[in-house]
Subunit: 253 residues, 2 copies
Amino acid sequence: MTPALAPALLPTPALGQRLRPHAAATPLTGCDGCPARALAVCQALADGELDAFGDIGDQQRFAPKETLFRQGDDADAVYTITSGMVRLYRLLSDGRRQILGFLLPGDFIGLAPDARYASTAEAVTPVGVCRFDAHAYAALAERKPHLLASLRRAAADELAAAQDHIVLLGRRSAEERVAAFLIALRGRLARRGGGAVTIALPMSRQDLADHLGLTIETVSRVISRLARERTLLVVPDGVRVLDAPRLQALAAA
Amino acid sequence: MTPALAPALLPTPALGQRLRPHAAATPLTGCDGCPARALAVCQALADGELDAFGDIGDQQRFAPKETLFRQGDDADAVYTITSGMVRLYRLLSDGRRQILGFLLPGDFIGLAPDARYASTAEAVTPVGVCRFDAHAYAALAERKPHLLASLRRAAADELAAAQDHIVLLGRRSAEERVAAFLIALRGRLARRGGGAVTIALPMSRQDLADHLGLTIETVSRVISRLARERTLLVVPDGVRVLDAPRLQALAAA
DNA sequence: TAGGCGCATTGACCCGGATCAAGGACGCGG
DNA sequence: CCGCGTCCTTGATCCGGGTCAATGCGCCTA
């Protein structure tokens, strides 16, 4: 019933790429033209130093559902997302899945480089990354204190985000989870130059459910309810926030 | 019905201190006699370097329920736990509480030193800590690469633990949560020289509930059930594992 | 234009764990 | 020794969200 209301009015959410399949093509130049330049860990380096950085970095693209690496693989690389969206998840032996997070341009994977990856990383949309050999990266970090400091800040952010999510999963209702997730994603998108009204949701409802510790039906029902009471408007591949204060209130704190 | 079965047969769980109230007195010497010496971040430093370390460290004790710092305070110090147990938690505005973790000797607080503490730290048992001025610590870290490396390892561990907990809260049943928590705590205690059979639980059931995203009644019921079916034996301030394989199986993966 | 396929939505019902409500079991102070 | 407070356990009942089962709605291919 909702989709009828919604013409395709997504103003191409500035995610650094398109959300519809098979688009996105950042020219494979060096760091200069990198859309994540201002966001990423790399910003720690002065322009001059970027050469060393670009040298060990290797630009790659992944189509939706392609895997960057798998839980259990040995962790021989770290990544910076330059465009698109990546889901990071763990599987239990019986197939239950928990999505730890959705990564956006500028996000970094490999802050905690153990011997093996503890989770799987998979492209949600077409994805561009900068891939670094783990050893070369570690060696470079050792020589660039700015980079190290930047890594520590990123680690701090990531840990804080993980703790936020622990609170969300441990002590919040379904509606609060959805609202808090949307608010948080909106903030992350906005910081990357997206608008604060339309929130891009290129991932499936199942992905949302597996991130929020709910089922697909519950996610769908909550979103439908928020749409029915005019807090949200469901649009293709996303939602529009109609009543931001109300959504904020539901996300509580 | 269970307590009758349980004489006080706790062989003084080697937590580096006693679990019963009002005991514990590590002499306030330098790092040499520190019970956490081998576990902590400090192990990164050669014996000779410990002087600089001891100089900026400040040994403190806290009685049960005393707070080390509060959510929102400005983060002017980092800590290493030397004895006892600390709970780290966040409060929601309506009073709901989520315990992020229980800290043991050798654990470090302040890997992600933001401007303000994002959570409250409170002594569960009598606690000994080594307190460092945040700035002095950061300055020292800058000069000691070993220390920095050690911090990164600790940050990696902490992030991995947080992700484990996200999976636990997002995708596991009450029984699995309790079992997984007990297995994990047993491992941590064992690594600190405790036995692998008796698991010390100095925290209240409410604490467990607030850590595992459950209610006190559910925690109590699950533990009672495990005791009834001879997987556990409830003892004062802890449990004994009678059927480790079964507990392990419940913790799944 | 029809059929099929993969999501998403919606409804009906069920169940795991929350809530409400008594009791125990200790420990402590008097 | 009693009375009280705190924490834990247990039972009865309720309900939020899970499960099961239809549709619905593009979107793709023929």
